[in-house]
Symmetry: C2
Subunit: 391 residues, 2 copies
Amino acid sequence: MNEVSLGIIGIGNMGTNHLRSILEKKVPGLKVTAVADRKESRRAEARKIAQELDAETAASLKVYEEGKDLIEKDDCEAILIAVPHYQHPELSILGFEHGKHVLCEKPAGVYTKQVREMNEAAEKSDKTFAIMFNQRTNCVYRKLHEMINSGELGAMKRVNWIITDWYRTQSYYDAAGWKATWDGEGGGVLLNQCPHQLDLLQWLCGMPTKVRAFCHEAKWHDIEVEDDVTAYLEFENGATGVFVTTTGDAPGTNRLELTFEMGKIVCENGKLMFDKLKVNEREFCKTSQNGFAKPEMEHIEIETDGSNEQHVGVFKAFTDHILNGGPLIAEGKEGINGLTLSNAMYLSSWLDKTVDIPFDEDLFLQELDKRRKLSKKKEDKGIVFDTKGTY
Amino acid sequence: MNEVSLGIIGIGNMGTNHLRSILEKKVPGLKVTAVADRKESRRAEARKIAQELDAETAASLKVYEEGKDLIEKDDCEAILIAVPHYQHPELSILGFEHGKHVLCEKPAGVYTKQVREMNEAAEKSDKTFAIMFNQRTNCVYRKLHEMINSGELGAMKRVNWIITDWYRTQSYYDAAGWKATWDGEGGGVLLNQCPHQLDLLQWLCGMPTKVRAFCHEAKWHDIEVEDDVTAYLEFENGATGVFVTTTGDAPGTNRLELTFEMGKIVCENGKLMFDKLKVNEREFCKTSQNGFAKPEMEHIEIETDGSNEQHVGVFKAFTDHILNGGPLIAEGKEGINGLTLSNAMYLSSWLDKTVDIPFDEDLFLQELDKRRKLSKKKEDKGIVFDTKGTY
């Protein structure tokens, strides 16, 4: 076997993008054999794109209305799930039950309790389970991950991520009926845009033990859910953190700053800057006889390998894992970590208090369900935007 | 009258610095005629410095043990108060009662209730009352203040100040017995190092209406008080903010980012950068038909007048105000604003909840007094560090 057949469930903003990438043969060894979407217009669009880009694939492409039907048939060995978040766990579980390899879009789901079941199903299966954390392919974060894990930076003292460059206009929210509703999507900027950064945060820094968040709903847009969040974090070793995000700032910022015993790291504008100390700050603090002295340091731009394949990188690793057992970009079971962070942030804001991690998953679901009950359906305009360059 | 005679009360780290500046004739129209310090070694040091720098002044310099005695005598028209913070209000009040002009070091005091009395005494007097907010002389903050007040930026949406470049070693805290104790100093990084930024924050952004802070005591140093703070702020118009400070990060950061309807401002490394939008973001959000579109902007480095006189600028304005009625850098009565912010941050952290501004001043004092009672005296080594270049 030197080719993997893929079924794409969901031909919306992201699914369309992925379909194009694969039809354009950007992922050696991966072919699309089936698609599913509940909207006739999207199924027609998928056929049209296939005919334009790859007539051979188009000729044999199976097109389904329901993801469930696609999974139950034998047109593909692997599935890509790109539907609204609530359905990620149930479709993944069905996929494993039918012996499919599963690549799930982020977030893993809407609430950790549901994702825990998905992880259990994956555990029982011998199939590949990956999640679309394409920002882990970014050379800057990969290099930083390597530096942290090597131990050269010493213990982490502080992290501050201003990730406010997820700007969206009102028309973004108006385009799809399920978006930015508690019942349809299950959350706002934390659940839709930030899963990448929340995953990277725990991948780089480990899981916080306490979260105090302030989520503001409908602050910049006419929506039900939050579009502005500030969260304070505490880690097991005493390190603290701040995470700020919004879809309302233009231009926004994407600046990750981390302080370690051996210096300061700033990731911004695709660069990895390191203010490297010559001695450990903890040692210097205790031994210097000058109250105002600072440890000597050098300001370095860290070289990376420059590679940042994004979604294509995730597809390549997924395919290689199935064919040759190579490493994934992000194991599917790790999807629960970033979701734990966003769930904890919501719960903290809803209860107006600091929340410990692990938190009470039943209480979270109860609070989420309260909001789902009051959730109002929007008209579904079914507009799909061009998401090239969007992550 | 074309000269102002000044008495300096407190010849410690900052008082020594100020004495030198004035003796070096950096402030036209201001002469030192008296000094006071409770330590014999500091009185001797003041005499020695005066002899070295200005023999004529040295010959007639009056030297007192107690500030009270200096104030009650007629050797000077104005006083500079540079003693531990608890004594700022009582000495200022005594100064006004004896018809002195008063320039008070920051912070205005330790708790707002006490500072309110100081402001009332100043109000009753016709003398000049100024406070050492020397960072208001900084061309970057002055220019930003001007831009905000002109209205060209529109409403503020977010502020984020990472001010972690107040690094201090353990020896800084060990040098003076009163430092970093609840009873001697009344606080840590918020009260000693941050009054400048807390003043600038309220000067630029207005007063928040809510504060949720996390103050960590003895996190990086063997001290009683806090040396690490993260605070979340909410303003009347709904804008939010984050303020992060510490004396434990090396190298630290001093980065002030503000988002407005008309763009983003970043003050860092002495530069004032403006991402200027062509249209108001609020308008763009509501009218754009593209969900992923962003308003057009240009990236500008704002020119300033380049001037940053710091302490000398404050002295010049203080002298000019007395002689000619010119404007002060910071009115003394404004000292209470930044202190309100730090008091609110302490109270929030102590009570482990969000605090509204104005807060309960009696409750604050009660909580502070609890900590003063448990406060432990340290050995006073009486070490004075060279503070050149320190603000």
